[in-house]
Amino acid sequence: MTISRRTFGLGALALTGAAVAPSIIAAATRPNVVVIGGGAGGGTAARYLAKAAKGDINVTLIEPTRTYYTCFFSNLYLGGFREFQSIGHSYGTLASEYGINVVHDWATAIDRSKKTVRLASGADVAYDRLVVSPGIDFKYETVPGYGITSANKMPHAWKAGSQTQLLKAQVENMREGGTFVMVAPPNPYRCPPGPYERISMVAYTLKQKNPKAKIIVLDPKEKFSKQPLFQEGWAKHYPGMVEWLPASITGKIEMVNAETMEIKAGGETFKADVANVIPGQRAGEIAMSAGLANQSGYCPIVPATMQSQMDENIYLVGDSTIAGDMPKSGFSANSQAKIAAMAIRASLTGSKLFPARFANTCWSLIADNDGVKVGAKYEATAEKIAKTEGFISKTGEDAQLRKVTYEESIGWYDGITKDIFG
């Protein structure tokens, strides 16, 4: 089997230094790729670019945090199945083994005409190609009364880290027989099964420490990911504890009040001892301010390459994108980042470009050794990233299969975090 090799880029080089020997040109004009965001999307993109280019491309990764806490598996920390440190990852290997220039700073603006990224510290970083992987920011207005200043009393815990620790502490210290209320997010949002895995993990903790406690989910949606699996699991493991109330029953959320811990929905007032409010979401602010999103609040991309539809020098991966049939997940971001890295390398060095294929699997833990999963494969069509194959765990599966599924998820976590952070 042979695959045609694309050879372009020489024309562009000739313009910049026609009289100089080609090898010297290559060294002098080694292209710069800047990656904004060091999560599942950005970390993978940076690592795959650096790994494949073997020094032919300068890769700079801009990420404000020194230690990145993954949202995936943060629910398992809430349930007591993981230590907090086990979901934290540093960038040392990306810097030392892959030669990536890791810059711990905030990217505050993108100048698309000058092709530079402005950092909070004041510096500008020039790029030939830019990967934007900022994740999500909140649309606070979807939950009237909620805002940044309420997040201390009513944590969202939808960006892992201190918020997750705060929510865990609140759950563990909740008064006996108290009520945990979750305000679930409207579509589309990061990690579709995540709120319901969280309910499972909170229930798991409360069943042991506070068995008379109640859990209420106020949901703007009428259905959710893996719903039959979660509802079967809640009835089996936590009978009578979890009440899921879609908007058709309660009406929409009218107001939350972090001072009184009250949530009003459909004329009814719910008094919470612990409230987990997860607002609606949109692309991370930097993608919005750079004009990379459309009116949906997310960023349209070219399915075959993850290139921005707004700017051919910019590629987007992860939760901030409109990724067709793919859900917003760490696995999806990791998958998309490999396509983006391949396409960027092809555009800069003439390396091979293969047909884009994407995959995702989301594991969720319902109780001790009761794991379920949903997954699919996707390909790029002209219109979108389209699903080709899929599967989901079934209700009524035997305990052994559920245990194997959970163990598989642990292996996956090890695998994907090494694939992201090296």
Partner: protein, 233 residues
Amino acid sequence: MRRLLILFAVCAAGQFGAVTGAPADNAAAFKQCRSCHQVGANAKNGVGPHLNGLFGRRAGSVEGARYSDDMVRSGQNGLRWTAETLDQYLQDPRKLISRTLMSFRGLKSAEDRAAVIAYLRTFSDKPSDIPEAAPTASTTSHDPALNPDILAIQGDTEYGEYLAGECVSCHQASGADNGIPSIVGWPTDIFVTAMHAYRNKSRTHPVMRMIAAPLNNEEIASLAAYFKSLKNH
């Protein structure tokens, strides 16, 4: 927006019969054990115990077989034969059981051990209950035999590396195994046969069926070539 053109030519002509990485003959790998161990119908204890139904068996537990005290004690202390324990034992028997009667230097090659273990797996009651993780991953009896032309396809390692992006989101490129089996360094025929078994749905794992479904013969060969080229760390 630039249009990205992908040309994709498959040139398999003239390669049939040029088998690379000759199919590991698991029975042949076991040959060196036969002077002491019998297996299969009518197998009896010889110099060493018969090896029917070995998986799940307590070490040193076959009635009428000769064992060292160390082997019997290890069994009483909980040692059972699994893919993992057999792999350790076969690599260096005296390291696991210091005064074992089995005077055998051990099999240094992971491939050879995998072949022997895969062969023995077929003589256990329910091979399907024994995990397919390396080192037992093999062309087992429940995997449909492949046309030799398919096994003969030469994979493109570079294409395989690209396609492997999907695999290494779960299977670690280092060969580490913590809940998801290692797929590094497998003999290509075993890898190819396994992937075809997922593609034609004769193996059951839903994620692997999904991953294998869209892969064509050349892509499977390319993945096999790439993972064969990796080293366990």
